[in-house]
Structures are given as structure tokens and as C-alpha cells.
Amino acid sequence: MKEREKSPTENLKAFLRGFFGAFKHSSTEYLEFELRELENVFALILMGEFIGIPSPPTTLVIRLLPHMTRELYVMQRRAVDMDDILGELAGMFEIT
């Protein structure tokens, strides 16, 4: 029984961790969004052939592809969530 009860200082510590964690999280929200967009764009450029935009040297594209797991994944997710991009933006700028 006793073990579950934590000392007040520890409680306070946990609270502060959560409190600043939330700050930490929101501090990188924009950065993460930007990063996702850049990764998406990077993959899209390499896959340009599919959507009819000029594509970079084929050799280069094929040499890059094996290392592009993350970017392709982001691109795929982005395509799936396509209609919710406005929602995401609205959430980020706290427009409700």
C-alpha cells in the first residue's frame, strides 16, 4: 500500500515533467510539420514520374530509393491524409 503512495516531491517532479514535456512537445510542433512536408516533397520529387513532373536523373533516383524508407512512408501517409491537411494546419494554428 505504502509503495503506491509517492512522496510529495516525487509527485511534484512527475507533474513538472509532464508540464514541461507538453511545452517541449508544442515547441517542436511546427518543426515536425515542416520536416514532414520536406520529407514528403523530397520523396515526391524523386517519384515525379508518377505524377507527371520532370524527374531527376533516373540513375540518381534509383540509387537513392533503397535509403528512402522513411520518406516514402511519410509520402504515403501524406497521400492518405490528403483531405485532412487543412485540419492539421487549423489545429496547429489553433483555429477552431
Binding site: 520529387i45 508518377f50 531527376p56 533516373t58 540518381l60 533503397p66 512512408y73
Partner: protein
Amino acid sequence: MREFFVPKKGYRVVFFIGKGGVGKTTSSAAAAIALAEKGYRTLIVSLDPAHNLGDVLMEKLSDKPKKITETLYAAELDMEKLIKTYLKHLEESMKHTYRYLTVINLEKYFEVLSFSPGIEEYATLEAVRDILKKGNEWDVIIFDTPPTGLTLRVLALPKISLIWTDKLIEIRKAILDRRAAIANIHGEQEFTVEGEKFKLPTRENEDAVMKELKAYREEVAFVESVLTDPEKTSVVAVMNPEMLPLYETERAYESLRKFKVPFNMIVMNKVFELKGDVPELRAKLEAQEKVLREVAKKFRGLEIVKIPIFPEEPRGLERLGTLGGKIIGD
């Protein structure tokens, strides 16, 4: 001998360009033979899918340099085979790396890729690069090229590839910057796909994509540096005294200048030189005169060599050698 055939920095690369059927192969073979006779270790490579270098030299050629004389070697690159092996190799390495990734359908992607526009040009460029990489084995490397259109695109590719690569490097830098900033606050970031965990690279020297980009940039920059160096590369345009080849040569001249590839000389092939008066050929001769005048005016300062039309096609080493002597200015 004309100075743009002399190897100055290690080796000399000469491209023979021109419209189809004007005599590129014959002129390039002739020049190669003449250079080889002077004692330069010479390699002549045909990049033209419609191979006839072997027919001109009267030898059976393959993609490995074949010894013709003590100093002359010749090869014909099989473009179709090149593209096939190139794609095959890529497909295998891709399948290997993507075993775990079924997010996108790669088979389909490869089907598209093998018909992707420009694949022929890229394969040609790769072939040229492979030969240039081993350039120091030779004194002179002569390329007999496919008709102008394709060749110009191949010669322009390094520059265009550089622009692409630089742009992609820029975006990649922005990505890595942001990742590094996020990692600074939240610690190392991981990414999980189908049970496999990756650490997201944040530094240029640990990011495989960036490394690949930089390696590619270096390779292309090497080709570009050779192609734009007047001490290393020369371009010889072959044409006939007719209007259409003239237009094409002019366009080639303009676009090579844009990509800073040196353009050194025009071989005016199949010029009629009649002693008597042949009324049937009078109009033809007048047209020829007109083109010759135009060429002298438009390409002022450029070396122009006239090769008369021969009663018989020049084939075989000896006759080609004499013809080559005229081209290299011996």
C-alpha cells in the same frame, strides 16, 4: 597535326557528331587510324545503336576493346544490353533492400522505370563515364556518336544532372537541419516500419541519402569537368554540303556552347569536285557552293576540312589512314 587532337592532360577525348548518314563513323575511324599510326594509343568507341564501326574497319567488334593494330583498339557498345543489365542490377539490389517494405508496389514502379524517358541517354552517359574513368590507359579516345539529337542530350546531361543534384542536396540539408533541431529537444528520433527500427540520421555524414547524393554529384562533376575542358575534350562535327546538315550543325554549335563543351572543327564530307561540266549536276554544285559559303561565314575561326566524295567508299585501314591524315591535319 591539329592541336585539338593532341593529348595534353593525360588523354584526349574527341566526339564526332553529326546528322545520320553524313559519315561520322568513317571520319572517326579514319582519324583514329591516323592517330594510331602516329603512335598514340587510341581507342575508338561506337555509341551508336546502329553499329557500323565494325563494318568500316572490317572487323567484328564487341563491347570489350579489340586490338586492331599495335596502337589501335576499337569497341562497339551495345546500348540495349547496357540498359538491360543496368536495370537488372538495380532491380535486384532494390528487391534485396526492400524485402520488408510492402508499402508501395515496387514491381510496378520498375515496370514504369524501364520505359522512363531518357533511360537511353543515362545509360550512354554511364558508359562514357566508365570509359573516361579508365581514360589514363589511352592517349586518345574517340567516340563515334549516335545522330546529333541524342548526342547533344548526352553531352548536356552532366550539367543538368548537377543542377538536379544540387537542388536535392539543398532540400536534404533542410531536412537534416530540422531533424537535428528536433533531436536536440526530444533526443534521438526513431522510426519503425513493419517491426524494423531505424534511427533517423541527423548528420550529413551518417545520412545514406546525403552520402549517395554527394557520391553521385562527384561522379557527374568528373564527367562534366572532362567534357568542358578544352585541353581534354574536342568535338568534331561532320556534315555534308547540304542545307539540312548545315542547320543541324548550327544548332549543335549553339547548344554545345551553352553547355560549354568545346567545338573545334567541321569535317565537310562528300564534297563534289568535278573537273568537267556536267549539266545534270549544275544545280547540285550551286547548292553546294552556297552551303560552303554559308559555313565559312557562320563558323568563322573554326577549322573546316573538305573531304571530296570518293568513287568508292573508303574502307580498310590503309585508305582510311590517308583520309584520317587529312582530318587530323598531318
